[in-house]
Amino acid sequence: MCATCGCDSETKVSIHRTNQHNPLSLENITFTPIEAKPTTLPNGRKQLDLEQDILLKNNLLAERNRGYFMAKNVVAFNLVSSPGSGKTSLLEKTLLDLKEQENFFVIEGDQQTSNDADRIAATQVPVVQINTGKGCHLDSSMIWEAIQQLKPIENSILFIENIGNLVCPAMFDLGEQKRVLIISVTEGDDKPLKYPDMFQSSQLCVINKIDLLPYVKFDLENVKKYARIINPSIQFIELSCTSGEGISTWYEWLKKEVVEQTPIAV
């Protein structure tokens, strides 16, 4: 069944390296959390007191991904935004400008097509495309499968470009170290109030397309004020992928994160 409308579409999640068409089926990984013994009720019925988090499997597998990243010293960023905010453009620019200095790997999430992965592949950075079919978010099992194919090397940076959607991806931990939310000035400056979960769960908010500020009704101070109401510790970087303004602040932030996430050698 599809994860959007419940139709019986056979569209399955497919994960493949660009130019390689060998989609994997998602393996079922089972966890058996400790729980209370069932209470026997009349007529052979039983009551199970589970107290189990519905997202338990996703969260456990996310922790497993996080452990894998930490062990290999891979710094993973989950890029989230509405459709069209410029996630792929920001990625492309970052990869082209920094690929001589850092080792990058990319997981691209889209419902359909490998258009974005093809754009990333053109930068010569290894990329895996996840097509969720009808699904509206990536989850930790998709990332687990994708990293089996991508095999990020030690001391690298992994960008995970989530599905363009400010609602559903907020609930699904992928095992990333930092969640980076990208909004553009062509959107409403009240986005933080409309989509509080995403603003609350992100550590950095990149405000993109600032070269268009003179032409649109978007108040930078308003968006920051609203976002800080939801998440007082959220950081901001204003930039334009087109003009390049502010992009060096983003690179500095990235480099600082990489240094901070690097475990101290014993």
């Binding site: 994860a3 978010h137 609930m171």
Partner: protein, 113 residues
């Protein structure tokens, strides 16, 4: 609409538990859903009806225990109920809150037969 993924996770857990206990189906299931858990009740109802078809949950009675959202003001430490994440502290008016309740999303219990 992530509610369907949520219902499908519930179905998966229910199928596992029924199998483990050599039972046939779920008679009743109690879910705990916080008001800030990001679940839309109408979307959940819609998803539920389609996702439980031909599963152990098809005939289950579903009880939802709603948990009101509560926050603690980071300025004056007072605790109060909130409706939205951007509500201000009713005492000092500061908007800086720590959410302490209302994000719950749990299968509390189920009765199987």
């Amino acid at each position: 609409m992530h509610e369907l993924s949520i219902v499908m996770s519930i179905v998966e857990t229910a199928e596992e538990k029924v199998k483990e206990n050599h039972a046939h189906s779920v008679e009743e299931i109690d879910l705990v859903i916080g008001d800030l858990a990001g679940i839309d009740s109408e979307a959940l109802d819609f998803a539920w009806d389609s996702a439980v078809k031909n599963t152990v949950l098809q005939k289950a009675k579903r009880n939802i225990i709603h948990v009101p959202a509560k926050a603690k003001c980071l300025e004056c430490d007072c605790e109060f109920e909130i409706k939205d994440q951007f509500d201000a502290c009713p005492l000092c008016g500061e908007p800086l809150l720590q959410i302490i309740q209302g994000k719950e999303l749990q299968i509390k219990s189920m009765i199987i037969n």
